[in-house]
């Protein structure tokens, strides 16, 4: 049914806000089990966890952790935006809020980067 190449109708702020929210949500849902698994290692004694945490000093892992942080920040900010417009009936604010959400997420991530590296 779709006859539109590239679907330019999507190129509007709120659609991208939606996509970012969805992708971050799905990635979070994929990552969270692993995160939990890692923490679960603690059962087997401090050594394992420490060993694992040492491994997270690895830049690659650090990058992944940063990514996770960003995801959480993005999803959180976007989610709050959605909750505001659905529950509080905010309307013309939507675009500003989308921008705000992305901005907040980015700021959070930068903060993390600054701290972590």
């Amino acid at each position: 049914m779709v006859r539109t190449v590239g679907a330019p109708h999507r190129r509007q702020v709120l659609w991208w806000a939606f996509l970012m929210h969805r992708v971050s949500g799905v990635l979070l849902a994929l990552f969270l089990p692993f995160h939990f698994l890692v923490l679960g290692f603690a059962i087997k004694g401090d050594a394992t966890l420490d060993g694992f945490l040492a491994w997270t000093e690895n830049p690659l892992v650090k990058l992944a952790e940063t990514g996770l942080f960003l995801l959480l920040a993005v999803h959180l900010a976007g989610g709050l935006r959605l909750l505001a417009l659905e529950l509080l009936a905010w309307r013309s604010w939507q675009k500003n809020m989308a921008a705000l959400a992305a901005g907040a997420a980015l700021a959070g991530a930068l903060l993390f980067l600054g701290v972590a590296w």
Partner: protein, 111 residues
């Protein structure tokens, strides 16, 4: 009835989001603080072990995240994979349950 079910599921997803929002903010702040001091197992455990507050904090988060993610994935599966109906519902429910179990195991480990 269908409408009521969907309304409840919707409400559950938004409610869990509302619950998680402050928890995540709290968690993120803790991480930043923790990282500044360098992360170690000892530190994490000394902070959390036997602390009912943190147990409730993470317990609630795990529960909410499980429900929230399952409901979210249900929507994504329906729209992007065309995976709908009872089987889809059971599958995402299982995913949610798995998440909660893993989460509780993790919480149990660090408390």
């Amino acid at each position: 009835m269908n409408a009521r079910r969907e309304a409840y599921l919707y409400a559950a997803q938004r409610l869990t989001a509302l619950i998680m929002a402050p928890l995540v903010i709290g968690h993120l702040i803790t991480i930043i603080i923790a990282i500044q001091g360098g992360l170690s197992a000892e530190e994490i455990l000394s902070r959390t072990s036997g602390n009912i507050f943190w147990a409730a904090f993470y317990g609630l988060f795990v529960l909410a995240a499980g429900i929230h993610a399952a409901l979210g994935l249900r929507m994504v599966a329906a729209e992007w994979l065309g995976f709908r109906g009872p089987l889809a519902n059971w599958t995402v429910a299982a995913v949610g349950l798995l998440l909660i179990l893993l989460g509780f195991r993790a919480v149990g480990a660090v408390i």
